[in-house]
Subunit: 722 residues, 2 copies
């Protein structure tokens, strides 16, 4: 164990990251929270968010507890013993279970920290706008960066310590599964919550009573603001935490098997140093990524006040370039660090290739972000065409948005294919995993940019409700629209990163399955994943269908809840006319309650499905079919995620473009049609679309975690063999 | 060559079928075409339809001509010579080319015949309603049956004669490709045409000027009626013709290779009789299916006047039962017909199993139809929920419909998986092909029921425009709604059938590829279709994306054209107020012209894509990747086709249910929202959704036809190998 020194890079980076987060938290909290009314509104939001998180974490506790107990009894392969003797050898699976719980708790902690600061930053950012744009921007961006840094920090500290204590990727897999379980709940629940409130508020407030956005008379305004925090800060943070950890784990697992089987390492006698180098390499790159992220964050802070939208994106590009440079430097250090008689030229070349894979992955992420930017920007053809379609009525704007959403799948699909092919040429399946790691390396910058959005969105609302005047609202508006600009890129990025990650997980799942079956039977259970084999074809078929089912459940959940919200808002307006005249405050508690309870109730079914279906497929059709199931789900999930995300974003921007006075502007029929588009797009882009990422990661990890168990059924061939 | 006797069954059935079609044509034409105004309107429709077909067939002629020349120079494998020597051995591929042209011309003839009678039957059916419901029903149903019988007749005659002359499935493959080329154009073009007119007429006429459906003042009324004929009669007929032929060809091709390689036939020395029996078996079953169809048609004619909707569906069930009985009988005859020393018990058992597969396939088709019936009927939960969602506004009805559309994919997917698994257990890949053949065996009944729909839809319009009075219109309405009831089942059926067919084509493509590479290199080129191989994974990825791209292009085409139509209708109303007051006739020619030119222009790109993409995949990534590409497209195409078809149908019915006076009825905001749903659903269910079937068949056949050519690139491994 002489290499942990290199793990220390990651550990230090993680600790540094948390320290920075705490410092940013301090910077935010010391600011002026604004006038009484603002504090009151912010107080409502904070309370609503905390109530939601409290109930959510309680349910999560039960869910994680049940799964943890199940994991305890799972036959866990590959642990220490060279022979795999099912159930008996490893009677209780303590380590993986504990690591699972640590992963879940870590993710919950990061989410809580990010959201806690988010709900404090909003009113302070609004107040900051009264001093200067720069002040407002800084507060909001620092607030958002807390989430970004917390995600990276918790992940790196958790991973490096766990791997230090028990150097077995299977243990880290438990950590990842924990993060994933939390992400599933946070993403689905947050997504349903935020759109229940948003859609409900729009349908009655905007459409029926012509109230402006964030009008304090609208009973769902606070719930809407709470939703931004739980959906876009906590939900999105846990989602990227999930992808981030999963990409690292997938590559560590592949490295562990590669080191044993790959020809490049064949000449050497499995030297521990080399193996360690490969396994640890992804973690090191993440440390490097964090440094790049910090520098990017620094740049954004420096330039942000001038052109906020541009600064956020430029910060991302700068992080990317710095990552490319630093990763080359650290690869060099790594190679120099290994004694020259322990590594040959082929192996050195291979490490360089892996470094190239990571850089390719990151660049691919940027390109993906740019394509989704193109398809959603209001000065580009698709969104313009959609706005023009609104002139033909509600139906045509929907048709147009749906079609452009489908079209927008093509460029990123080609991008992913090229990135994957390049990475594969350089480093095989491990190269693909490294591309995913590279793509997610600057997740700190990405999450910071993303979490900035809901904070300024809230700040705008608070400025409106706190009567800060038109000038300040306009400043807040400018900051808000910068958030949307950044979001377009980060969303495409997040989907692409998740996609590469799940491909990597698919490969690591296969490698793991083969390793188990080698120990047990001396053959590879997934020698091939042959679509001409009926079991495999059936697996792929069901896999392709699952993202459709999952999306449908989430959208219906939003719709059901939004209907309740609509009824409640109408009821309040009808029973108490003083709410509409502004003499009395609306009953915010009631709407928050509907959003909270509804979203938590509705996330149960989709969550259970994402665990149960892969296990069922494995039991019935075998692990090769399970692999094909994952592949099918990954591919169709990609199509649905991109389509929903981009069409939703474009509808939103088409509406805003019309609201800016184009094609007749607000209040016209064209505007109304564009609102229909936006409302349809809301659950597309903020509930179903992004939840698919999490679904795919959870299903892939479930498959890996339960592999030992699935081997009990027909030696992994399943109960039904055709 | 002593078995052609059995081909004679199919040939006679085909001739009988055409004779019946001609007789029904006579029955329709001798009826009274109604008053002058009706004849005038019907004349416009007929003229519009003929103009469209004339231009369409001209473009098709060029397209088919170009492809035919290309095919002439294609290296065609497996023809007579035992050694496959690329280009050289078969310098010119005359037979396949001729058979391709015959297939195209046959399909064009069937489409022309069906449509020619359709546009004659509409006014006669309207006039028939003035005598009795029965009279109206009979005329419309006979009119529709002409299309159904023509499809089956042309297919059976063409297939049996071609196979008689050159007993090589590769020749019949050319025939199928010809049918498919025509179907692609007819389905895409017809789908775009019909929805251009429908959406345009609704957006201005209904939404802006509150005109009722089929109002003669609406300038797009005639174009709308023409659209029903070119889209729902000619387009749908050529689509099912395509699937029908393809299912037979796939099983013939599999039988040809099976007979050589399968263990069941191993003991025998490849006896020509046995092989012939297997190859011919599918064709015989189709003959049997035709008889069952005729009896079903007879039943519908007998019972149709009482409860038209129920009769159409019961007719389908009766055909199914008769098919089950007759196919058992003919299997017995077949077995008895082969001398007992030429067939052993295993082989007899196998033939019985194949018969079971066909019956399973047909029953699965019925079940699939019933699930789509459930998801689109206005007295079932999904459609009711969608109607209720309309109360919350335009956006919610869209979200609801989209979600239920996605949910509705799950039951038929499970149905297909079970049917495929059962068929596979009984007869391997050949069993799956036989299930597809069985599913399509009663295509005569299915097409008749389907073509009945547009005829009564037109009849209703003509009754309205011919001032036949409210009573008659109500009778026509009743007949029309029966058409919709039948359509729900036949649509689900058509998608399911196409799905099984393309699976069969996928298997036959693989078998053919292996046979070629065996001749050339002694190994199987697609030994496995391994998703862990990057080429294969990339193929599957692109395959999954293609149906999304294709749908987007078609919907955008409808949207673009409909916008032009909207402009034209508005222009006519604005420049000539006498049109709206009914004093002057609208300029129908102009709107027909827009629909015709637009649809023909817009179908070019999607058509070319469906030929070019599979060839490109094959050249770049090899034939195994091409197989995975097809598999990916089949799976995601299934999801999109079912989703769009069912959500579109349900939106339509939700709107009609509201128009029946529910939830406030016509003219309310709820109704307007439901119209938005219906308008979105129009291109979903009538353009993009059903065109995906054709896309899949065309791509699969392209892959098979160009196989010899693709083997030139890296021996079939493609130019880019990862």
């Amino acid at each position: 164990m002489d290499v942990p020194i290199i793990l220390i890079v990651a550990l230090i980076a993680g600790i540094l990251s948390i320290a920075m987060a705490m410092y940013f938290r301090y910077l935010v909290l010391r600011e002026d929270p604004g006038n009484e009314r603002m504090q009151e509104v912010a107080g409502y939001i904070e309370e609503g968010a905390k109530t939601y998180i409290k109930v959510q974490y309680k349910i999560l506790g039960i869910f994680v507890g049940v799964l943890a107990v199940a994991m305890l009894f799972l036959p866990s392969p590959l642990k220490k013993s060279d022979t795999y003797d099912r159930l008996v050898a490893n009677a209780l699976n303590w380590e993986q279970m504990l690591s699972y719980i640590i992963g879940a708790v870590g993710s919950m902690f990061a989410g809580w920290l990010g959201m806690y600061v988010g709900v404090k930053a909003n009113t302070r950012a609004a107040q900051g706008c009264t001093i200067s744009t720069k002040k407002g921007f800084d507060i909001a961006f620092f607030g958002g960066s807390v989430m970004g840094l917390a995600v990276v920090g918790v992940a790196l500290i958790g991973l490096s310590i766990l791997y230090w204590i028990v150097p077995d990727p299977m243990i880290v897999l438990g950590f990842s599964f924990g993060a994933s379980s939390v992400a599933l709940f946070m993403k689905c629940g947050g997504g349903i919550y935020t759109k229940t409130a948003d859609v409900g508020a729009d349908l009655v407030g905007k459409a029926e009573y012509d109230l402006p956005e964030d009008d304090p008379r609208n009973p769902a305004t606070i719930a809407d603001n709470v939703g931004d925090n739980v959906g876009d800060i906590a939900g999105m943070g846990s989602d990227l935490f999930d992808s981030y950890v999963a990409s690292i784990v997938a590559s560590m697992m592949l490295a562990a098997t590669l080191a044993i089987t790959d020809t490049i390492w064949d000449g050497m006698d499995l030297d521990a140093t080399i193996r360690f180098t490969l396994v640890v390499f992804p973690v090191v790159l993440c440390g490097v990524g964090l440094m790049a992220s910090l520098l990017g964050i620094w740049y954004i802070k420096w330039k942000g006040s001038e052109e906020p939208g541009k600064a956020l994106n430029t910060g991302t590009y700068i992080s990317t370039l710095i990552f490319a440079g630093l990763s080359a430097l650290f690869t060099l250090l790594l190679i120099v660090g290994v004694p020259s008689d322990e590594i040959n030229e082929d192996q050195i070349l291979f490490l360089w290739k892996l470094c190239a894979c990571a850089v390719i992955g990151l660049f691919a992420g940027i390109i993906l972000g740019l394509t989704s930017d193109y398809f959603t920007r209001d000065d580009r053809k698709p969104t313009r065409k959609m706005a023009e379609a609104a002139q033909e009525g509600h139906a045509v704007v929907i048709l147009s948005g749906f079609s452009y959403g489908l079209l927008s799948v093509v460029p990123p699909a080609i991008g992913i294919v090229i990135a994957m092919a390049c990475a594969y040429l350089l480093g095989g399946v491990f190269g693909v995993a490294m591309a995913a790691v590279g793509m997610l390396a600057i997740v700190g910058t990405i999450v910071s940019n993303d979490a900035y959005g809901p904070i300024v969105d809230n700040a705008r609302g608070i400025a409106e409700q706190g009567d800060l005047g038109d000038d300040i609202i306009r400043t807040a508006d400018r900051l808000d629209s910068a958030g949307n600009t950044a979001k377009a890129i980060t969303k495409g990025f997040a989907i692409g990163a998740a996609n590469l990650t799940v491909f990597a997980l698919l490969f690591s799942f296969t490698a793991e399955a083969n390793e188990i079956s080698q120990l047990e039977t001396g053959t590879d259970i997934i020698d091939v994943m042959d679509l001409l084999n009926l079991n495999v074809l059936i697996g792929a078929f069901i896999g392709v269908v699952v993202p459709a089912l999952f999306s449908a459940l989430l959208i219906l959940a939003v719709q059901r809840n939004a209907a309740k919200m609509v009824d409640e808002i109408r009821r309040q307006f009808e029973t108490n006319p003083k709410i509409l005249s502004g003499e009395e405050a609306a009953d915010f508690g009631k709407t928050i309650d509907i959003a909270t309870k509804g979203s938590l109730r509705e996330l149960i079914l989709p969550s259970i499905i994402s665990i149960i279906i892969p296990i069922t497929i494995g039991i019935l059709f075998g692990v090769a079919a399970l692999g094909a199931f994952l592949a099918g789900a990954i591919l169709s999930g990609f199509v649905f995620a991109i389509m929903m995300s981009n069409s939703g974003g474009a509808w939103d921007n088409a509406k805003k473009w019309i609201e800016d006075g184009n094609l007749g502007g607000k209040g016209t029929e064209v505007h109304k049609a564009s609102i229909t588009g936006d409302t349809v797009g809301d659950p597309f882009k903020d509930t179903a679309g992004p939840s698919i990422n999490t679904l795919l990661v959870v299903m892939s990890l479930t498959a890996s975690i339960f592999l030992g168990f699935l081997m009990l059924f027909g030696d992994g061939a399943g109960l039904l063999v055709f």
